[in-house]
């Protein structure tokens, strides 16, 4: 199992049928492996934040124990469209 930004991006895209995924390796400047992700998926519609984050956690359940710090942002396609307009 390889912990690269590309690997995580592909996995999230697949598991969450995501419209858009961004994965940033934030390890430089931290003491250990860290990532920040943005996932845009229709699967998040109608789901409260905690539930959305659990979906992401489930997708990366094998990888998360090896990641020291993990930040995530989860948006529906509508929210993402609105954000891009700002």
């Amino acid at each position: 199992m390889e912990l690269s930004a590309d690997y995580l991006r592909e996995k999230l895209q697949r598991d969450l049928e995501a419209e858009h995924v961004e994965v940033e390796d934030t390890t430089p400047g931290r003491c250990a492996t860290s990532f920040r992700v943005l996932v845009v998926s229709a699967k998040f519609e109608g789901k409260p934040l905690l539930h959305r984050h659990r979906l992401v956690n489930a997708s990366l359940s094998e990888e998360l124990p090896h990641i020291h710090a993990f930040e995530q942002k989860t948006l529906t396609p509508d929210q993402w469209a609105r954000e891009q307009q700002k």
Partner: protein, 266 residues
């Protein structure tokens, strides 16, 4: 910078090693071996060990008793290390057969802990001394919104630290609970803040500036009162806040756990 212009991390490790030497200078057993001893591993040199114990940052201290891992400390925190060494060196041995009983006890304990206050924050460190950037940010947001919360330092208890992750099926800290239910981590709290839902979900602390009526006494004006009050209330420092003649506490207490429901209002 430490001695000889070392980086702060190196200076901290020197302090840690000095404290370890002191803490371990204890009695020897019948075989002549030390009852409490230490070893050192280069995490990168033994990847299978690092993987087994899920070492994700250095330094990490693992505590073993009767060949079982019983505790862990992440980071170079000398006072915490000394405390843990002393605690484990003095406690009795751990009965391995009591596992099922312990699991039930743990779940009950976690249930009580998450319900300990209307709003509970499980974090790394304390609100006054956070030991992680994310925990620090979480505390700042809660304080900015004047949210009343109690906190638990997950570094102080390895059993809770690991147990809570399983109990709530949530892999990271900090974790914020309201009425015993997990709200989420920092990301979620940030999003709730942005969507202005935070104020509806979390209990507020009454505001100081708006409502409390108070008188003051300048202890620099009267040395007799200044010293006498410390003895009278058995409290060593100033400022001191009293409500109806009873000591509420100093700045730390007032900041983290406002008692203003007891204070006279306008």
């Amino acid at each position: 910078m430490g001695r000889n212009g070392e980086a702060p991390q190196v200076a901290r490790m020197h302090a840690i090693n000095a404290r370890l030497k002191l803490a371990l200078g204890g009695p020897k057993g019948k075989s002549g071996k030390r009852l409490v001893d230490r070893g050192r591993l280069e995490a990168e040199a033994v990847p299978e060990v690092s993987e087994k114990y899920e070492i994700s940052s250095v330094p990490t201290f693992l505590f073993f008793k009767n060949s079982q891992k019983i505790d862990q400390l992440d980071g170079a925190h000398a006072p915490e290390l000394t405390k843990k060494v002393q605690r484990h060196a003095s406690s009795g041995s751990f009965p391995p057969s009591a596992n099922e009983h312990l699991k039930e006890d743990l779940n009950l304990r976690l249930k009580k802990l998450t319900h300990a206050a209307p709003c509970m924050l499980f974090m790394k460190g304390t609100p006054q001394e956070p030991r992680c950037g994310f925990s620090k940010q979480m505390v700042e947001i809660l304080q900015k919104h004047n949210i009343q919360f109690s906190s638990f330092d997950i570094f102080s208890d390895e059993e809770v630290r690991q147990g809570l992750k399983t109990y709530s099926n949530w892999p990271t800290y900090p974790q914020l609970y309201v009425s015993g239910e997990l709200i989420g981590g920092l990301d979620i709290i940030k999003e709730l803040e942005a969507s202005e839902e935070l104020d509806t979900i979390c209990p507020k602390a009454p505001k100081l500036e708006e409502s409390v009526d108070y008188e003051t006494f300048d202890i620099l004006e009267d040395e007799e009162v200044r010293q006498g009050l410390k003895a009278y209330s058995n409290w060593p420092t100033y400022p001191q806040l009293y409500v109806k003649g009873e000591l509420v506490g100093g700045l730390d207490i007032v900041k983290v756990r406002p008692f203003f429901i007891h204070c006279p209002q306008h």
